[in-house]
């Protein structure tokens, strides 16, 4: 009996002591954890300051006082994520985007071949210094390598200004400034093909200056002025240094509600014509309506966009055979103003609806006069279905029917596969 009592007393004492101990240990562990966090933060700051790669320093856990039993092993506390990237920290973000295109059916004059690796775009992007960032997009196409864009953006200018210098897609309209892989279609609208240089568009070396303009509350107004060398295939062609081209763009954006917004733009571009010895002027109005319910943003969205483009230039000179020549050689003075002024016009209207997390359904209507003969009008329509296996790849089929001005009708089925590796690029808006 006595033995039992004694045992019970001993047991109770041990249990209370253990409970006290474990409370004490917990308290100490908490203190230690905080200390480790403080130390690691300090270490991270030091590492960042030194910039040079620092070996993975193990933060030693402060030794407990000798009378304490050693604390149970605990996974090390990690602060601020992995530090292994430190050695490569100064490399730019690199991404490669592949664009594989296939086509079937009766094609038009400039339709894609049956199968092609249409473009592989390499992107290198990084913050340059405290005042600027740099972006390079190099495009490996079917016919060689091209610097699609390469520019520096000064982000720390006074008076709310932003300056870009380098080669860039001009801020003319909406589609011109977008890369292929962010378009909701496998091709570009007819009006862009006919009047704004097709896939390359107005893309030239120059400066771009933009500013957010003062506006009533809730309205975003941005003005952009750009000056370029004056060469953009099919749109502008500079004969000498004076033939620079300019692009002006005014953008207005307003949230109509939390989930709906309207984006409007007007643009003007002027340069020396690529097909005649005179100026070429382009005017555009673009509108984009977006709907994306925030609670269901992962699953549903709707985008409607439209762009109207007017061109005003002299038609090309007629050559001996009576055809319009693509030559830019200055004609004899007597003929200089003989060619008539041409005013081709075109537009597209498109809508895309996200039917499920990975599925998008879209349609587009196209109409555009031809540049070389504005009496000829091309009309087309497309239906597009896109599937995104993940955020980094998409599979698209597009049925395209085009009736060219000269009565040729093309029915094509386009198939596009786009895939991207490397750094997680931002989603364009």
């Amino acid at each position: 009996m006595i033995v039992l009592k004694l045992l019970a007393i001993v047991f109770l004492t041990v249990v209370t002591a253990a409970a006290q101990d474990s409370a004490e240990i917990l308290k100490r562990m908490k203190a230690m954890e905080d200390r480790i966090i403080a130390l690691e933060t300090e270490l991270r700051t030091l590492k960042a300051e030194r910039a040079a790669p620092v070996a993975q320093a193990a933060v030693s856990t402060p030794q407990p006082p000798p009378e304490m039993p050693p604390p149970p092993p605990e996974p090390p506390v990690q602060l601020g994520g992995a530090g292994a990237a430190a050695a490569k920290a100064l490399n730019p973000d690199v991404a490669v985007i592949g664009d594989f295109l296939g086509a079937a059916g009766k094609g038009g004059p400039n339709g894609p071949p049956a199968l092609e690796m249409h473009e592989s775009e390499a992107a290198f992007q990084a913050i340059l210094d405290p005042y600027a960032r740099a972006d390079f997009f190099i495009s490996f196409g079917q016919h060689g390598v091209d610097l699609e864009e390469g520019f520096i953006t000064f982000t720390s200018l006074p008076w709310g200004l932003q300056l870009r210098a380098g080669k860039m897609r001009a801020a003319f309209g909406k589609v011109n400034s977008l890369h292929n892989h962010v378009l909701p279609w496998a091709d570009r609208p007819l009006v862009i093909q006919n009047l704004v240089g097709g896939e390359d568009g107005i893309n030239d070396a120059g400066f771009s200056l933009s500013r957010i303009l003062p506006s009533p509350k809730g309205l975003f107004l941005e003005g952009t002025a750009q000056i370029f060398k004056g060469d953009s295939e099919g749109v502008f062609s500079a004969r000498n240094r004076k033939d620079v081209s300019t692009v002006e763009h005014l953008r207005a954006f307003r949230d109509l509600s939390e989930s709906t917004n309207l984006d409007l733009g007007v643009s003007y571009a002027r340069g020396h014509s690529a097909i005649a010895d005179s100026s070429n002027q382009l005017y555009s109005i673009d509108a984009t309506l977006r709907w994306k319910p925030l609670r269901r943003a992962v699953y549903h969205s709707f985008i409607a966009r439209s762009e109207f483009i007017w061109d005003r230039s002299r038609q090309g000179q007629l050559d001996a055979s009576g055809l319009i020549a693509g030559s830019i050689a200055p004609p004899p003075p007597a003929l200089r103003f003989a060619t008539p002024i041409s005013r081709p016009f075109g537009y597209y209207a498109s809508a895309d609806y996200q039917i499920a997390q990975r599925w998008f359904l879209g349609g587009r209507f196209d109409r555009s006069d031809e540049l070389l003969n504005s009496a000829l009008r091309d009309t087309g329509g497309s239906a597009i279905l896109t599937f995104w296996p993940s955020e980094f790849s998409q599979i698209r089929t597009q049925f395209r029917r085009t009736r060219y001005g000269d009565k040729l009708t093309a029915n094509e089925l386009l198939f596009q596969l786009q895939f991207s590796i490397g750094a997680h690029g931002a989603h364009p808006f």
Partner: protein, 307 residues
Amino acid sequence: MQRSKLAVIGGLFASLLTSQAFAAKLNVVTTTEDLAAIAREIGGDKVDADSIAKGYQDPHFVEPKPSFLLRLQKANLLVAVGLQLEIGWLPPLVTQSRNPKIQPSAGGYLEVSGFCKIAEIPRGQVSRADGDVHPMGNPHFWLDPENGRRIGKGLADKFSQMQPGDAAYFAQRYAEFDKKLTAAIKGWDAKMAPYKGRKVITYHRSWPNFCEHFGIVVAEYVEPKPGIPPSPSHSLDLINLMNRENIKLILVEPYFDLRTPNSIAQKTNGKVVQLMPSVGGVKEIKDYFQLFDYDISRLADAFATMK
């Protein structure tokens, strides 16, 4: 005479300047509502804090709308979560903001992940075969209230550095926040104590810090991999796992579709619980404390009904 006049004018000017400097509020823009809520706790009436993403929105996918630029243009400080949570939308906004103060290299840009305990830091090779992985660790760390405390401390230090005149004010606000949080954590811990060790399924990997703090075990996810939508075969695996291990609860964020979780719950006699990962997820969650009040009470109730 002339000199004294000058002195008076100078004095007036100086006092005007200083009073303006003191009266100026720090204009803070945060990426998520949780950070704005903590910034308000610490900043009090010396700070205007406003967030870009709404609490009921998936913070991975926010549209970088130009209207956000208007707010960013005037910000003194931009506070981001970090760990690439905002990588899909914040960089273009910052670049276009025309605000030198909030560029990543400037003093007005702060990622709070640097203060916090981070879960799920990938070891070894990271690849997108694992879905939309965050190579620097799981960015949903604000759901551990201890990390909330650390964010509070970090913000107090940052505010004091930017507005040294109010350093004592921020320090005092932090001390109050710290005290209030300690008391609140005690309450939350007590409420969750009976359910320690229970297993749950979550939709996305949003809850590792939350679950670790409260001793809940996340057994699996509804998404087969982060960012990859549920698939029938994975759902079947989940059903088997839940039946085998008697797991009853599926935690879902407000921005995910409930169809798959509901059908899994139906087949396992389980229950779907919509928890809020952020302040503002529902109207009644107005601050950081109410976020945990809401989630803990929902979770505790669900555990209690599912024995």
